[in-house]
C-alpha cells in the first residue's frame, strides 16, 4: 500500500508538474508574443517621436532667419532628439529589411544634419543660402517620406504580430484549459482509485471491529490482499480468534467458579450433608464434564470407606466397601494430593476403588485436621483430566470436608442446645417454684380469710329459716368462694410449666393481677404499694413470663424493706417504649455488688433465694426485646426500670404466624 501511495502521489505530482510546465511554456510564449506587440507599439511611439522631431526641425528650418526662428541651441537640441529617436529605433529592430531601412534613414539624417549645419554656419549670398536651405528642406522631406513608409511597414507588421499574438494567446488558453480539465479528471481518477483502495479494506476492517464490539467475538473478515491492509486483516482475524478462545476459557472458568460457589454455598446453609450429596455428585460431573461421580465416606463404626448411595452415572449401583487400610495407603502414597490418571489400570493400588472399565479417573480426598473423612472419585471424562480439574476438585473437596465437619459440629451443637434449653427451662421452673413457695404462705392467708367467712356464714346459716336471708348469705359465700378460687387459679396459672405463649398483653392489667397476688404479703410486711398506671398501648408478649418478672421484682422489694416502706409502681409510654418502674424505699444494694445482681445463682438472701430470680427476669425481658436497668443507693432504696418495645419485630412475626394458624 505504501508503494501504491507513493506511486499515486508521484503520478499526481508528475501530472501537476507537466501541467505547470505547460502553463509556464505557454505563459512564456504568450509573454513573448505580448512583448513583441508591446515592443512594436513602443517602436511606433519612437517613430512618432521621430516624425515629431523631424517636423520640429523642418519648422525650425523654415523659420530660420525669420522672427519665428529659434535659437541655435534649440535647433541643436531638436536635431539631437531626432538623432536619439533614430538611435533608439536602431537598437530594437533586427529584421534585415528594417535594419537596411533604418540604416538608410540614419544616413539620411546624417545628410540632413550636414545640410542644416551648412545652412546655419554658411555666410554667403542669399541665393546660396536659399539653395542650402532648399537642400536641407528637401532632405527633410525625403526623410519624412521614408519615415512614413517605415511606419506603414511597421504598422503592417504590428497588425500581423498582434493577430499572431492574439491567435497564440487563444491557442494557449485552449491548450491550458484542456490540459487543466484532463489533469483534473486524471487526478480525480487517481484520487478516486487511491481512496477506494484505502477505504475498501478500512471499511471491511471497521465492519469486523464493529462485529466484535457488538459481541460477535471470533468474527473473521474475509478481506485478503498483499498490502499492509491484508496483513492487518490477518492479524485482526488472529486477534479475534485469540479473543474468542480467551473468552471461552474465561466463560469456562466463570462457569466452574459459579458451580463451585453454588455448591459450596449450599453446604453452609445445610445442617445435614446427606441432603446435598445427590445433587453434589451431579454438579461435579457437570463441572468437570465427567460421566461418573462417586462419593466414599468413612464409616466410623466399621472403619471402612463405603460408597455413598448418592452417586452419578454409575452403571452398577451396589455399594462398594473398601477397607480402611487400602484407602489410607493410597492417601499416603499420594501424600494427600489428588490422583489424576488418564489410564487408571496402570496405577498400582488403585484397583480397590475402581469398579472396572473407567477410562480415566480423578480422586480427591476429603480430609479435615488429619482425619480422612472420605474421597470423591470422578471418572470417565470424554477428554483427559487436567491439573486444572484436579485443582478444582481439590478446592471443592476442601469445602465439602469443612461442610461435613460443620454439619457434624452443628448436629452436636444442636444436641447441646436442646440439652441447655431443657436445663434452662428446669431452672426457670425451679425459680418459679421458689417464688410460688414464697407466695404460698400469703396465698394461704388470702384464701383463709374467705374460707373463714364462708365457714362462719355456713355456721350461721344453719340457724336461719328465712330463705331470703339464707340467699343473701349464700351470695356472700359465693362471692368469697369465687375470690378464693381466683387466687388459687392465679397461683396455679403461675405455677404451671408451659412454653412461650404470645398474646396481646396489657401491662397495666398484669401489674394489677400481680398486685393482687402480692398484696397480702406487702400488707403483712407493712409495705405500702402505690400504683400509678399511665396510658400505655398493648404489646405482644408472654403474660405469664412477664408476670413472673413482676412478682419477682415485687418480692425482692418487699424483702428489701424489712421495716416496711413504700413501693411505687409506675407505667408510662416513652416514645416507642413502655416504661415500668419499681421504686422502693428499702435498704438499697451496695455499689460493689450492684453490677452482679443479674448473674445466675447470685443472691444476697442466702436462706430465701435461689439466686436465679433476677437473672431469669433479665433473660425474659431480653427475650421480649427490652432491658432492665437498676439504680440503687444504700440506705435509701432501689429502682428497677424495665423498658419494653411497643413492637418487638421477632415476636410480632411469630404472633402473626400463630394467628394465621
Amino acid at each position: 500500500m505504501k508503494k501504491r501511495l507513493i506511486l499515486s502521489l508521484g503520478l499526481l505530482f508528475l501530472l501537476f508538474s507537466i501541467g505547470s510546465l505547460l502553463s509556464i511554456v505557454y505563459s512564456y510564449k504568450i509573454t513573448q508574443d505580448l512583448k513583441t506587440v508591446i515592443n512594436l507599439h513602443r517602436v511606433e511611439i519612437i517613430r512618432q517621436n521621430l516624425v515629431i522631431n523631424l517636423q520640429t526641425v523642418q519648422s525650425n528650418l523654415y523659420t530660420t532667419g525669420t522672427v519665428f526662428g529659434k535659437e541655435l541651441d534649440v535647433i541643436v537640441d531638436n536635431v539631437a532628439a531626432l538623432d536619439n529617436s533614430i538611435r533608439s529605433c536602431s537598437g530594437c529592430h533586427h529584421s534585415k529589411e528594417m535594419t537596411a531601412r533604418l540604416k538608410d534613414i540614419s544616413s539620411t539624417i546624417e545628410q540632413y544634419e550636414d545640410a542644416i549645419s551648412y545652412l546655419i554656419t554658411t555666410t554667403a549670398n542669399q541665393e546660396r543660402i536659399e539653395r542650402l536651405k532648399m537642400v536641407a528642406v528637401g532632405i527633410g522631406d525625403i526623410l519624412l517620406h521614408k519615415t512614413q513608409e517605415m511606419s506603414f511597414i511597421a504598422n503592417k507588421r504590428l497588425n500581423e504580430k498582434t493577430l499572431k499574438a492574439i491567435d497564440a494567446i487563444n491557442k494557449s488558453r485552449v491548450i491550458l484549459f484542456i490540459t487543466l480539465i484532463i489533469a483534473f479528471f486524471i487526478a480525480l481518477l487517481i484520487a478516486f482509485a487511491l481512496t477506494h483502495q484505502i477505504t475498501r479494506p478500512v471499511s471491511r476492517l471497521v465492519k469486523a471491529a464493529r462485529a466484535i464490539a457488538a459481541g460477535e467475538i471470533g468474527y473473521q473478515t474475509d478481506y485478503r490482499d498483499s498490502t499492509e491492509f491484508g496483513e492487518l486483516a490477518e492479524s485482526f482475524n488472529t486477534m479475534s480468534l485469540s479473543l474468542k478462545e480467551k473468552q471461552e476459557r474465561m466463560l469456562h472458568y466463570v462457569k466452574q467458579l459459579t458451580g463451585l460457589y453454588n455448591m459450596t454455598l449450599s453446604f453452609y446453609r445445610l445442617k445435614d450433608m446427606d441432603e446435598v450429596f445427590g445433587r453434589l455428585c451431579m454438579e461435579i460431573a457437570e463441572l468437570l464434564d465427567a460421566n461418573q461421580v462417586e462419593l466414599f465416606l468413612n464409616d466410623r463404626k466399621k472403619g471402612d470407606f463405603i460408597s455413598h448411595q448418592a452417586a452419578y452415572g454409575l452403571k452398577v449401583r451396589e455399594p462398594l466397601s473398601i477397607p480402611d487400610n487400602k484407602v489410607k495407603s493410597l492417601f499416603n502414597l499420594f501424600r494427600g494430593e489428588p490422583i489424576v490418571s488418564n489410564d487408571p489400570d496402570e496405577i498400582e493400588g488403585l484397583s480397590p476403588i475402581l469398579r472396572g472399565g473407567e477410562k480415566n479417573i480423578l480422586v480427591s480426598w476429603l480430609s479435615r485436621k488429619e482425619r480422612l473423612l472420605g474421597f470423591i472419585k470422578v471418572a470417565d471424562k470424554d477428554e483427559d483430566f487436567s491439573e486444572e480439574d484436579a485443582r478444582l476438585l481439590t478446592i471443592l473437596s476442601g469445602h465439602i470436608a469443612v461442610a461435613m465437619e460443620n454439619s457434624e459440629l452443628y448436629k452436636s451443637l444442636e444436641r447441646q442446645m436442646i440439652e441447655l434449653r431443657e436445663a434452662q427451662e428446669q431452672l426457670i421452673q425451679a425459680a418459679k417454684l421458689a417464688a410460688i413457695g414464697e407466695l404460698a404462705a400469703n396465698v394461704a392467708h388470702e384464701i383463709n380469710n374467705p374460707l373463714t367467712s364462708i365457714i362462719g356464714f355456713v355456721e350461721l346459716m344453719k340457724e336461719y329459716d328465712d330463705i331470703e336471708l339464707i340467699k343473701n348469705r349464700l351470695e356472700i359465700i359465693e362471692h368469697e368462694s369465687i375470690r378464693a378460687r381466683d387466687i388459687v387459679r392465679e397461683l396455679l396459672n403461675f405455677a404451671r410449666k408451659r412454653p412461650l405463649q404470645l398474646s396481646d398483653v396489657d401491662i397495666n392489667s398484669i401489674l394489677r393481677e400481680v398486685s393482687l397476688l402480692t398484696g397480702t404479703q406487702a400488707k403483712s410486711a407493712r409495705v405500702q404499694i402505690i400504683e400509678e398506671y399511665g396510658e400505655i398501648p398493648k404489646m405482644i408478649g408472654d403474660p405469664n413470663q412477664l408476670k413472673q418478672v413482676f412478682v419477682n421484682l415485687i418480692n425482692n422489694a418487699i424483702h428489701a424493706m424489712p421495716e416496711g416502706g413504700r413501693l411505687e409502681i409506675k407505667t408510662s409510654r416513652i416514645d416507642e417504649e413502655i416504661s415500668i418502674i419499681f421504686k422502693d424505699t428499702g435498704t438499697g444494694i451496695p455499689a460493689d455488688i450492684l453490677p452482679r445482681i443479674f448473674e445466675p445463682f447470685f443472691t444476697t438472701k442466702r436462706e430465701k433465694g435461689t439466686g436465679l430470680g433476677l437473672s431469669i427476669s433479665y433473660r425474659i425481658i431480653e427475650d421480649h426485646g427490652g432491658r432492665i436497668d437498676v439504680e440503687s443507693e444504700e440506705g435509701k432504696g432501689t429502682t428497677f426500670i424495665i423498658r419494653l418495645p411497643v413492637i418487638n419485630p421477632a415476636f410480632k412475626e411469630k404472633f402473626d404466624r400463630i394467628k394465621r394458624g
Binding site: 536635431v79 538623432d83 546655419i120 554656419t121 554658411t122 555666410t123 554667403a124
Partner: protein, 290 residues
C-alpha cells in the same frame, strides 16, 4: 579639532563644494565642424565637469566664428573653446585667459590650414585661382581664412571680389571641404585636422582633392576662461581638465572628444599666428570679422 577637520574633508568629498555664487558655467563652442557633431563631441565633457565641479556646466554653440567674441559678452559666457584666431581676438578684446588645449589623437596639439582643390581643376597655384569660386570657413579663423589672405597678400592680391568669381563662408571647416567636394566651390580652405578626419571617413576626399598649401602650425582649439572668474575656480577647472587622462571616466570623455589629454595653454603659444596675421595685414584690435 582634528575630528572636525576630518569631518569637513569627508563632507567635501561626499558633497563637492559648489562654486560660490556660480549656479552654472556656460561654455561656448565654435562651429569648427558640423555643429551637431561638435555638440555631440563636447557633451560628455560638460557632464564630466559638472560632476567634478559640483556645478552644472552647459554648452552653447555659435553659428559664426566671429560671433563668439560678441556672444561671449552678450550671453555671459564663462569660457569658450576658441579657435586660434578667436582666441587671440578674445584675449585682445575681452582679456580672456587661455587655460588648456586638447592634445589630438595623433599626439599633436596644433593644427595647420590646408588649401585644397579638386584634382584636374587646373589650379596649381595662386595665379590659377583667379576667376574661381572659393569657400572660406569664416573671417575669424586662421586655418579657414587668414592663412589664404596672407598668401594672397604675399602674391599681391588684396581685392577678393575682383580676384574670385565667388567667395563665401561655409561657417565650418568640414563644410568647406564638402563644398569643394560637391563642386559648390573650386578652392577650399580648412583646418588640417578636420580635413584629415574627413579623409579618413570618406576616402573619396583623399582621392578627389589635392592640397596645394599647408600653413605653419597654429595652436589648436583652446579653452579660454573669462577674466573675472575667481582664480580658485579657474584653477579647479584647469586641474580637473589636466588630470582627466588619469581618471577612467575622464579617458572615456577624452575619447569622445577626440583627444588623448589636455595640456596647459599660454599666450606664447600664439606667436605663429601673429606672424601670419602680420602678413595678412590684419590689426587684431580693429579687425572687422563680420
Amino acid at each position: 579639532m582634528k575630528v572636525f577637520l576630518n569631518l569637513i574633508i569627508l563632507l567635501s568629498i561626499i558633497f563637492p563644494p559648489v562654486v560660490s555664487g556660480q549656479e552654472e558655467i556656460l561654455i561656448g563652442l565654435i562651429p569648427e565642424e558640423n555643429i551637431f557633431r561638435q555638440m555631440d563631441r563636447h557633451r560628455p565633457l560638460a557632464s564630466y565637469l559638472s560632476r567634478k565641479l559640483g556645478v552644472n556646466v552647459r554648452l552653447t554653440i555659435l553659428s559664426r566664428y566671429g560671433d563668439i567674441v560678441d556672444s561671449f559678452v552678450s550671453r555671459r559666457m564663462d569660457g569658450a573653446f576658441f579657435g586660434v584666431f578667436t582666441s587671440v581676438l578674445a584675449m585682445e578684446r575681452l582679456g580672456v585667459e587661455p587655460v588648456v588645449r586638447p592634445v589630438n589623437l595623433d599626439g599633436s596639439s596644433t593644427s595647420q590650414a590646408y588649401i585644397f582643390v579638386r584634382k584636374g581643376s587646373g589650379i596649381n597655384g595662386i595665379r590659377d585661382m583667379k576667376g574661381r569660386r572659393i569657400a572660406f570657413v569664416d573671417r575669424a579663423t586662421a586655418t579657414g581664412y587668414l592663412y589664404l589672405i596672407a598668401l594672397l597678400r604675399e602674391n599681391g592680391i588684396s581685392n577678393l571680389d575682383s580676384f574670385f568669381r565667388e567667395y563665401y563662408f561655409t561657417g565650418s571647416h568640414d563644410a568647406s571641404v564638402h563644398a569643394v567636394m560637391d563642386n559648390r566651390a573650386d578652392i577650399g580652405i580648412a583646418k588640417g585636422r578636420v580635413f584629415r578626419k574627413l579623409s579618413e571617413k570618406d576616402p573619396l576626399i583623399k582621392n578627389e582633392l589635392v592640397i596645394l598649401f599647408r600653413s605653419p602650425e597654429f595652436p589648436d582649439t583652446t579653452l579660454c576662461l573669462k577674466k573675472d572668474m575667481p582664480e580658485s575656480l579657474k584653477k579647479r577647472i584647469r586641474d580637473t581638465l589636466l588630470n582627466m587622462d588619469r581618471d577612467r571616466d575622464g579617458v572615456e570623455v577624452l575619447k569622445a572628444l577626440g583627444a588623448i589629454r589636455f595640456m596647459p595653454a599660454t599666450r606664447d603659444d600664439f606667436k605663429a599666428f601673429f606672424d601670419v596675421a602680420k602678413k595678412a595685414g590684419i590689426d587684431i584690435r580693429n579687425y572687422r570679422y563680420r
